[in-house]
Symmetry: C2
């Protein structure tokens, strides 16, 4: 070998782009969110499910192009037996596969909750990761609006459970059938034939916030050229149809009951439209029975909720805020999750119709929203820190920490090799409030020293050696060994 | 298109081979195990960490072959920018990457815990999955035996926390330095030169259980031919060296203190051997101080703990049982996890030595072991089932369930569309104990009917219609509406 090759060729320590390491505070906060949601689902009789990270690419479907390497949007690899496997991009497609595979063994409606990493092979951006955690609940096998009402109720209850106050969130419910019915009345058939036109209408409505009524009107009609000169083809609806659709998007200005009255007029005699109205009536009935008012769950005909596989009621959870930005405009946090009915996803596998409805939220997205709303509890709980003043006394230190833990306290013995100054710096970086110090002298007197690091942080910087430390004793108290646990509990308010 | 193509071409619902869907009971039990372990780590002042599922292949190292497609043992794929990424195969290699990447920002010792899926691209077999959950705790930056003692203590405490009784488990500790020292005394240098020979000795000792002393003796010497005629090359130790190694493997027949005395004789003047002994002295000191006796943590010189990256103390957690097989032999459950010191893993990235020690167990493996030891609590908690006797009363049913949940009970309203017979079948499959039934009549009398499904299961089978049901009323009681919650709580012992 040449001399050049002998230079150590070390790998660079870096995480893959678009992936994140999560810090302790974030993990604790996210786990609390998930636990709060799970508790709600569990109390409602849902059961947990875990499916693998991989699915066969053809089972996942959706994003799969007809290419040799189906990796657009998903992470895919070819298994030893030449079958393409993909990492799941959501938790719904794997649920559909699971239900189809175990159809006869499952009591239906099958109601499950699940949280887990999903993967998107997309260009990473700020706050946009290629692996993130979703938290889902779904009912499979229940065609009626009761199951949809339950999902809306769960969404509202989960928002309360994660610490939001009423008024800080609103579940906004729409129903795909309503627009289908209104379009049907204006001559867009409610069959596959009209599918592309319906999709264009949905896309147009979805841009209401951004483009305003005039922009949407153009997209519902012949089309629209944006400022950059890009032209978007329109849905080619006639004048009356455009009016009907625009009227529909503002039909929900009032409460749930008023909205239903408006909608009943708009859908006219369309069977599908009337069925959509009846579902909203049923949903309102159940929400009202459990005391969920318009403040917590409204009907909102401008909700589109993606373009994918929804077939009936759809909803989004909007976080509301009175935070103002620097220009005094209310800060919009927007939707943190949503769901709806998707009756076709399981039937992909089985042929027969398998109705399903669900609710999903992104855990990180909800967490950031809660942070901005100051709705996160601060639950920092640094351990009591047992310093190693004299290595010969390690056994005593571990015994002390053991007693603290038995008493329910969090406790840590320093297992590094630094001197007392280094140990105090470490404790400081760890956010420790109370440090316990015991040398031979204290041991012989059956005493320990407890130092309040918050109080003593400044003074500590000047101290260099064990001896200096013992004589200076900044912000510390001597406590009888047998009173140590009581003293610590009192100092920590436990 | 031909007529043949019009036949629906549906994807087959099947999960990828070697991957599993986990059922509710398993998930609940595994989550309890993880929560119990996390509580122990947290109380000891460890902090949670989550790293991504992917790492760059060169950062993971270890299994990576110098091939174009480095997929031996790992799941790897090439990112858009041509870099190879691999799914993590354990939680230790990503920890090393994380610590190396954030070295200056971390207070050291950095002590973290983590649980998560790891992936092995191996041939699946019964109970051997290609994705499984590991649960790890590690200290990075602590060179002394105190950190190792802490790991042994944590392992013993986690076993208690997951529900094992003392006597059902034993942590068995060895130290790589001891064998290094003994081999050094017999002329195998404690340098890279002797590395292959040392590895062969470790491999031989690891087969003690299977091959017995004679087989190991052959493997330590010239080599061994097995029954199938396969020949394994030996470590080529001399007669005295073989005797010393075999003597070493049985040096731990007594308690920790006796074992140390034996080992001090065996390692003689080898510096590395003496250092290994001193570490065991330090570990024993701390374990004894916190009251962990030989029954919970023993020294065991036959422990090898894989051949990988360990550099000092190593340990395994052995589950013990008095279960006998059909031939009356005690059933061996074996090791459910272990750990040890690995001082070189972070230095791969940084050059400088970064000492580390850890403990890891496989969650499914521990769970199966607990099942076999009957050490799992049964915490089945089926929901109270609110039947939908009359769809017009759905609101009342949801209101009732809401009251139950407010009272801390688990409750489920039937959201499917089956009649009462179907609903009862569903409740039965769900393991429901108590079902609540209310029709118009009961509502007008302010009463509900509560049915005990366990009692009534047999009778229910004969009942066909809602009307029959109401007249038969098997194993059920009429309860005043305002007493419902109290009645349910009493019936469920809550």
């Amino acid at each position: 070998m040449s001399k050049k090759k002998q230079k150590p060729n070390r790998p660079k320590a870096r995480r893959p782009r678009g992936f994140e390491d999560k810090s302790a505070d974030i993990i604790r906060a996210e786990n609390r969110l998930i636990a709060a949601a799970f508790a709600v689902y569990d109390q409602n009789g849902f059961e947990p499910l875990q499916t693998p990270a991989f699915e066969y690419a053809d089972a996942l479907g959706k994003f799969l192009p007809d290419e040799d390497r189906p990796n657009t949007g998903v992470f895919a690899l070819r298994d030893d037996d030449e079958q393409w496997m993909s990492l799941r991009y959501d938790l719904t497609a794997p649920l559909a596969r699971f239900v189809a595979e175990n159809f006869d063994a499952l009591a239906k409606p099958y109601r499950r909750y699940q949280a887990g990493s999903v993967f998107r092979n997309e260009k990473p951006g700020p706050g946009r990761f290629r692996e993130f955690v979703q938290c889902d609940a779904d009912s499979v096998g229940a065609p009626g609006a009761a199951a949809d009402a339950e999902m809306v109720m769960l969404a509202a209850d989960v928002m309360r459970a994660v610490g939001l106050k009423d008024g800080q969130y609103q579940v906004r419910v729409n129903n795909r059938k309503l627009l289908d019915g209104i379009l049907e009345n204006t001559g867009v058939p409610n069959t596959n034939e009209g599918a592309i036109q319906r999709l264009k209408v949905l896309r147009a409505i979805d841009k209401l916030d951004r483009l305003g009524e005039a922009g949407v009107e153009a997209l519902l009609g012949e089309g629209r050229e944006d400022d950059s000169g890009d032209y978007t083809e329109g849905a080619n609806l006639g004048k009356d149809a455009i009016k009907a659709v625009l009227g529909f998007t503002i039909a929900s200005a009032g409460g749930r009951v008023d909205t239903i009255a408006n909608l009943e007029k708009l859908v006219g005699n369309s069977e599908r439209g009337m069925s959509g109205c009846q579902e909203l009536v049923d949903i309102d009935h159940i929400l009202s029975a459990v005391g969920i008012g318009d403040d917590r769950a409204a009907f909102d005909t401008s909700i589109v909720r993606g373009l994918g596989y929804y077939t009936g009621p759809v909803f989004e959870v909007e976080l509301l805020t009175d935070i103002k930005d620097r220009k005094g405009r209310p800060v919009r946090i927007g939707s943190i999750g949503g769901g709806g009915r998707y009756d076709d996803l399981v039937s992909r596998f089985r042929g027969q119709l398998v109705p399903a409805t669900g609710f999903s939220f992104g855990v990180s997205r909800l967490l950031s929203a809660l942070e901005r709303l100051d709705a996160l509890e601060n639950t920092s709980n640094p351990p009591v820190f047992v310093t190693v003043f004299d290595r010969a006394l390690l056994g005593e230190y571990f015994k002390m920490a053991d007693e603290m833990r038995t008493a329910g306290l969090r406790a840590e013995v320093y297992v590094g090799t630094g001197n007392i100054t280094k140990q105090m710096k470490y404790a400081d970086r760890r956010g420790v409030q109370l440090a316990v110090i015991m040398g031979e002298d204290e041991l012989s007197r059956n005493e320990v020293t407890v130092k309040d690091l918050a109080l003593g942080a400044e003074m500590a910087k000047a101290i260099k050696s064990n001896e200096e430390w013992k004589s200076a004793r900044p912000a510390q108290e001597t406590v009888a060994r047998e009173n140590l646990i009581d003293y610590l509990k009192q100092a920590l308010n436990k």
